[in-house]
């Protein structure tokens, strides 16, 4: 590293000395060595260059003495050579490395959620008041056997049970190791309490959290970390992870520093070694290989666990999804280009994949055209920011959605995008015991529960407004969507009319 950085600090921390009571909470809580205390002089000071704007100090300061400012661009404004490009280039000139980042794509690509509007009932049919009438969000995931036959229990032994969700929102795959035990437990507890699912991600399920396994989607990824028969049978759903929205086409890398004893035991790898997930599964080089793995997992669990296959939303996702359905999967999970990650090369995160809205529309339409939509559940992931996004996704054709980033934000994440450093000040994306304890799973679970509760209630309100009292009547019901500012191709792909067009 050169001693002189060509780049001035991105952020400045301002301390209002009139307010500061020198309780030192900021210095104790800063995860990035930006807040310092000099005991000899009884003086607090900051090293701005270290600040990542995670807002931990600002949040913890009992007197509101701290503000973090984004420094003005260190250059003459240039619409083409943006500050981001400049900083990246200089960083790479200094390090020669691949740019790494965390969380989801933060670039200003269009959001189709923001170009879709919902319908509501007026006069000709009544809206339904969720406070007065039952409003059903229960959603089942899995393959539907049709037609329904009356012979009771006739196919019970071979029938893979469907998995009920009390709300069509699950917690995305975030592996133990990439996130702390505390964060992981928060997700697990909230999922169980609310009656939905969390996803273990690719790092296995810690022994002490098996009590939540009946609400776990247990993932099998290319690294096969923590995968054993007990794990597969404990979970409610098994998910084969092929791809991830934040980094389609590439594998994962959890640095050795995050592999402590507990993570090592759960992942079944030596302590302190890097956990490398290969880009492909080395036993899946074709759709028929996938089918083999699907059925291997089904055999291993006596056909009692629905198998999900998770792919990134890429250009030909509809065809891929069809293949997955025909390979025997019960659930297809599609992760859009806004999906988050603990660590990804910046260029991949920001420039690969397609928006989840288009992917949902394409996959749902394709499966319907092939008449196999009822054979699989479609789960969408990647950048769900609100209950309205969820409603729009379901209207486009998803059965349920995964939320990851939103869940982390509920847990305290401030999107500083430094997950890959393992220094997370909020105790989420770290294994540092000084920081993980900042996330009390009791509180974490409560906050996540509250989020699900709030969103679910909003979904009910929106459904009621549309005159619908059950979520399945929204699924794929694109008539309740209208586009704004979308061109004809976009409207056609999404299968929606433009706002202003009649029903």
């Amino acid at each position: 590293m050169p001693t002189l950085s060509l780049m001035p600090p991105e952020f400045s921390v301002l301390r209002d000395e009139n307010k500061c009571i020198k309780c030192l909470a900021c210095a104790r809580q800063c995860g990035f060595d930006a807040q310092k205390y000099d005991a000899e002089d009884d003086r607090l000071y900051t090293i701005d260059a270290n600040c990542v704007n995670c807002q931990r100090c600002v949040s913890i300061c009992p007197v509101g003495a701290l503000t973090i400012y984004k420094n003005p661009p260190p250059m003459r404004p240039n619409a083409y050579w943006s500050e981001g490009h400049l900083r990246n280039i200089i960083k790479q000139a200094e390090t020669g490395g691949v740019l790494l980042t965390g969380m989801g794509n933060d670039q200003p690509f269009p959001s189709y959620f923001d170009r879709l509007l919902l319908n509501a009932s007026q006069v000709t049919n009544p809206s339904i008041d969720p406070l007065r009438e039952p409003m059903e969000l229960r959603t089942y995931l899995g393959s539907r056997t049709e037609p329904v036959t009356l012979q009771e229990g006739q196919d019970e032994k071979t029938r893979t049970p469907l998995v009920p969700l009390e709300t069509p929102i699950m917690f995305s795959a975030m592996s133990y190791g990439s996130i702390s035990h505390e964060a992981f437990e928060s997700l697990a507890r909230a999922a169980k309490e609310f009656g939905t699912m969390f996803n273990t991600g690719e790092g296995g399920l810690p022994e002490d959290l098996y009590q939540y396994a009946d609400h776990a989607v247990v993932q099998v990824a290319s690294g096969r970390f923590g995968v054993h028969t007990g794990y597969l049978n404990a979970g409610r759903i098994i998910e084969i992870k092929i791809g991830q929205g934040a980094k389609p086409g590439i594998g994962g890398h959890l640095p050795g520093e995050k592999i402590n004893a507990a993570v090592s035991a759960t992942r079944m790898i030596p302590e302190g070694t890097d956990a490398l997930s290969p880009a492909p599964h080395h036993d899946i080089y074709s759709i028929e290989d996938l089918k083999q793995l699907v059925f291997t997992l089904k055999e291993a669990t006596r056909y009692q666990k629905p198998v999900s296959v998770k792919v990134s939303a890429v250009h030909n996702v509809a065809a891929i999804a069809s293949g997955i359905a025909r390979a025997g999967a019960d659930i297809i999970t599609v992760d859009g280009f806004r999906g988050g990650t603990g660590a990804a090369p910046t260029m991949i995160r920001d420039h690969v994949g397609i928006p989840i809205e288009l992917a949902i529309a394409a996959v749902d339409q394709r499966l319907r055209e092939e008449g196999i939509r009822n054979q699989v559940s479609l789960v969408a992931a990647g950048g769900f920011r609100s209950s309205a996004d969820v409603v729009k996704a379901i209207a486009l054709g998803a059965d349920a959605v995964y939320i990851g980033t939103a869940a982390l934000i509920a847990l305290g994440c401030h999107l500083c995008q430094k997950c890959y450093t393992g220094k997370c000040s909020w105790g989420i994306a770290t294994q540092d015991p000084y920081k993980t304890r900042r996330l009390n799973p009791e509180i974490g679970a409560e906050r996540l529960y509250n989020l699900l509760r709030g969103w679910s209630h909003e979904i009910k309100e929106m459904l009621g407004g549309m005159g619908i009292n059950s979520i399945e009547s929204l699924r794929g019901n694109r008539l309740h969507l209208r586009g704004v500012g979308l061109n004809e191709v976009e409207l056609k792909l999404l299968g929606v009319k433009h706002a202003g067009e009649a029903i």
Binding site: P134, V148, I468, S473, R475, N477, L479, H480
Partner: protein
């Protein structure tokens, strides 16, 4: 002016129907009287009837009721029919002049039976072959529309108040063991005869009051099963849904009703294990066929009728009985109008089907 099929048309309506379970047949004057009483619920933009048991002499033939806007379409359709069917009889549907009715299309009926070779060619069952042909005509032949296609039944519908339509079609001259009727209140004025109720497929006929908010979900589900949705009306998807569930997936009508107006999960959760399993499967597998939003419907079919309300009972539906006759209607007055001394009157709960079937003996007699 866009018409049915070009976009969705919500409407409010009046419905009425009855069945003589002993199979005795009566003419159409009483159903006209009943539906006429609810004129308030219609606006003169659509009325229609379905009648069962009206063609005993052709009971083994599919009775195709067709409307044509012009001769070109009629020629096209007739070619199609000749290609695929033996035609036992054909004629113009008898009408009489009614002042309120104008701009009637050409109305024809054909009593047909499919050519076996064509069925083989299609690699489908006879009934699927029939439905596909009907949908092909509706979707592909501009200006032609199949009003009904069942056996020993027929639908009669058009633009106007239902009593005028009944008069126009001379329903007083038909004898049927069950009649259903519809007076329409669309919230726009497409003025197309095909858009009136009932909607039919094979021997299913559906009249409907309400607006189904789940239409998009229902429709896209049915499309997976090769139903060509042409009218964009709720009634059409209801008819197809019943056809899928009962004819193709072999569910008893009672259970099909539990799909269209599914019990709430909280009710299902309280059921004994076996029933819970069945009802859970019904909802899970056919969730997309749940008719969400306000509706009351009467479904007519060979040998019976079924009335059903949405599960919140957001639209009116009354049932009554006297002797062997079961009446259902939007309003009690519409029943009392034709049967002043009903023995029993009740208001079916939301989601609870009211089904009337021909007695076994009558069934045998009619199909003999």
């Amino acid at each position: 002016m866009l018409r049915e099929g070009d976009y969705r048309i919500p409407s409010g309506c009046a419905i009425s129907g009855f069945i003589n379970k002993d199979g005795s047949r009566i003419d159409g004057s009483s159903i006209i009287q009943s539906i006429a009483l609810m004129q308030e619920r219609s606006n003169g933009l659509g009325g229609g009837f379905a009648a069962y048991g009206i063609y005993p002499e052709y009971k083994d033939y599919y009775a195709l009721h067709l409307l044509f806007e012009d001769k070109i379409s009629r020629n096209q359709v007739e070619e199609l029919i000749k290609d695929n069917f033996y035609i036992e009889a054909e004629d113009r549907i008898p009408t009489r002049h009614v002042r309120a009715i104008s701009k009637a299309p050409l109305l024809w009926r054909y009593f047909v039976t499919p050519r076996v070779s064509k069925i083989h060619e299609s690699q489908e069952t006879e009934e699927n072959f029939m439905t596909q042909l009907v949908m092909r005509i509706n979707a592909q032949v501009n200006g032609a529309y199949v009003v009904s296609s069942g056996k020993n039944m027929g639908a009669f519908k058009g633009v106007g108040y239902p009593e005028d339509i009944g008069e126009f079609f001379r329903l007083d001259e038909y004898q049927a063991y069950s009649w259903i009727a519809h007076g329409r209140f669309p919230t726009n004025t497409p003025g197309w005869w095909g858009g009136a109720h009932p909607f039919t497929l094979l021997d299913w006929s559906v009249v409907h009051n309400g607006e189904v908010s789940s239409y998009g979900a229902n429709r896209r589900f049915l499309e997976m099963y090769d139903y060509k949705i042409t009218l964009q009306t709720d009634t059409e998807v209801i008819a197809y849904a019943v056809d899928l569930l009962v004819r193709r997936h072999k569910l008893p009508l009672e259970l099909a009703a539990r799909v269209l107006a599914a019990p709430f999960w909280q009710e299902i959760d309280r059921l004994p294990a076996r029933e819970r399993d069945l009802y859970t499967r019904l909802r899970v597998v056919y969730g997309s066929l749940l008719l969400n939003g306000p509706f009351s419907i009467i479904v007519g079919f060979s040998g019976g009728i079924m009335a059903l309300n949405d599960r919140l009972k957001l639209r009116p539906l009354v049932a009554a009985s006297k002797g062997n006759t079961l009446y259902v209607a939007s309003e009690e007055a519409a029943i009392r109008e034709i049967c002043p001394e009903v023995e029993e009157v009740w208001y079916p709960r939301g989601g609870e089907p009211v089904i009337g079937r021909l007695e076994e003996e009558a069934q045998c007699r009619l199909s003999a």
